[in-house]
Amino acid sequence: MRLRAARRRKQTIFRRVVVGLTSVFFALPLLGMVEFTTRAPGGGRTLQTYATLFDFNVIDADYPELKTGILASAGLVLLTVAIMLVMLVPTMTWVRLRLPGMRRTVEFICLLPLTIPAIVLVVGLAPIYAWVAYFLGESSLWLAFAYVVLVLPYAYRALDAGLSAIDVKTLAEAARSLGAGWPTVMWRIILPNVRTAVLSASFLSVALVLGEFTIANLFSRDNLQVAINQLGKRDSSLATAAALAALVLAFIVLFGMSFVGARRHSRQPEEN
């Protein structure tokens, strides 16, 4: 017993030292951003940079590239999440119901982007995007097609966990036997039952799209990160503030996800 108590004490000291040191290392660059963006010209502190960043009229007039980037990223978030959900949820449900033999294949395809670096994908996508530009125009919005591929592994895992937690087959058969068509089964039976999984797949996609730089930069399209990078060459303080704001937004989105996940557990009893 004494041995164990001594070990406990040592473990506590070890934990405090390690967690303390890593926290300092993790916090320093973030502090650096806050410090850098609140410098006043003559020394001292000011929030002027943030006042500028959140003043839409000033951004609109003086920093058009930032405005373009924000709007492009907002559109990309919506389109990526929409394509991802419309494609994955029915496909994964359908495979579970009618083609269980194909589950491994679909899983393999969905996890494949994890092993292909984004930069490699860009090389292969270049000719595809020449066609996309030919048929649909040069808009930055079409980057969403590539972003769906980037979010596939994360979205697949989230949705797979959700679909595994419910009895898709019984639910679908019950609905069908009561005369529901396939669209009704998807929209009114499956979707409400996997809404937590749908939400976490969407949140992960949002966070990933907000932080994407590689593809947009190399195809010379606009998005938030490309705009921030360009802005860095001319107003590094404002660019750093915008980067920090985007990071905080992604942080909130991902924290919101853990909140949604937790809420489902506490509400489960009343649902049943």
């Binding site: 041995l3 164990r4 070990r7 473990q11 934990r15 390690v18 967690v19 890593t22 290392f25 993790f26 320093l28 660059p29 973030l30 502090l31 650096g32 951003m33 850098f36 494609m87 994955l88 496909t91 359908w94 495979v95 119901l97 009618r98 083609l99 269980p100 194909m102 982007p113 092993t115 292909i116 670096p117 984004a118 930069i119 490699v120 994908l121 860009v122 090389v123 292969g124 996508l125 270049a126 595809i128 097609f145 590539a146 591929v149 596939l152 932080g211 730089f213 590689t214 930069n217 190399l218 990160q225 990078n229 860095g232 750093t240 980067a243 920090l244 990071l247 942080f251 991902l254 924290f255």
Partner: protein, 293 residues
């Protein structure tokens, strides 16, 4: 198992109609995933006039490409080891905290976000901290240390620091489940037999955690090896690592035929990642056997 007859019955029912349901998915992934991959693999063996050639592969022996590959592999290996060691220490420290407690929950959430934290934001964060105008630079100058210079923008110094910043949190997320798999009973058994802390780690903890540790390190390697955005935002002069070299061949001012050298480099990356991921899969199978996850 018991379900299989009914499953078979319903799949054998209308196979063509059932296959139509997954057609959109396969069409989409063919266009935006399979064909791009094929373009890279096939393009690596084609010259500017689409004739088969091995010229692109021999172009990989150009000194700047060789040095970029070496830089990339060394950078990824060093940051994988650093991230793995510090991340594993952190994971163990966190695992000694109360299960479901505030420390454990906060650390996993924070690391979940920091592991994704890369690219432009991370580059700016480090410039604002240890760049020439950074607050730590100013502060250390006052106590006599000079951080000034271009070290932050060099692949063997600054990039190591910046990459380690996202490797440690990733290690925590990947490795924490393995550390949590260590049962307290094993420790107690070792102690009741008179074993010291060293004996426990040497004969019990160490051997059990070795496969997941190395596996996690391989994952960290591919993570650093694939990263483009952070280096691109940080480095504006030259292309010292392979993702930047590939990016260079995509920009407008390239000589004709250079494009396919980019594909050859991309294929080189895929080969390296594939080798590492295969090793990872093998280790993962061993881990599952030992820790019974």
């Amino acid at each position: 198992m018991a379900k299989s007859p009914s499953t078979r019955a319903s799949t054998g029912h209308k196979p063509v109609g059932a296959l139509l349901g997954v057609l959109p998915f396969f069409a989409y992934t063919a266009i935006f995933l399979a064909i791009p991959t094929l373009i890279v693999v096939v393009g690596a063996f084609l010259d500017g006039n689409s004739r088969p050639t091995l010229g692109n592969l021999s172009a990989l022996t150009q000194p700047q490409i060789v040095s970029a590959f070496i830089h990339s592999v060394v950078l990824s290996a060093v940051t994988a080891v650093l991230g793995a060691v510090f991340g594993a220490l952190l994971a163990y420290a966190v695992s000694t905290a109360r299960e479901g407690g505030a420390l454990r929950r906060t650390m996993t959430s924070v690391c979940g976000v920091l592991a994704q934290f890369g690219g432009v934001t991370l580059a700016f964060a480090f410039m604002a901290t240890v760049g020439s105008e950074g607050f730590l630079t100013h502060w250390l100058k006052n106590v006599g240390m000079d951080l000034a210079g271009t070290w932050l923008y060099e692949p063997d110094k600054g990039l190591v620091l910046v990459y380690t910043y996202f490797q440690i949190p990733l290690m925590l997320i990947v490795f924490l489940p393995a550390v949590e798999g260590l049962r307290p009973q094993w420790r107690e058994a070792a102690e009741s037999l008179g074993g010291s802390t060293w004996d426990y780690w040497r004969h019990v903890g160490g051997p059990i955690l070795a496969p997941p540790f190395i596996g996690a390190m391989l994952l960290l390697f591919t993570n650093a090896f694939s990263a483009y955005a952070t280096a691109a935002a940080l480095i504006s002069q030259g292309s010292p690592i392979i993702p930047l070299q590939i990016g260079g061949t995509l920009s407008s001012e390239v000589i004709l035929g250079q494009e396919n050298i980019g594909k050859a480099m991309a294929m080189g990356m895929v080969v390296i990642v594939a080798v590492v991921m295969t090793l990872y899969a093998v280790l993962e199978r061993r881990t599952t056997r030992w820790l019974g996850r």
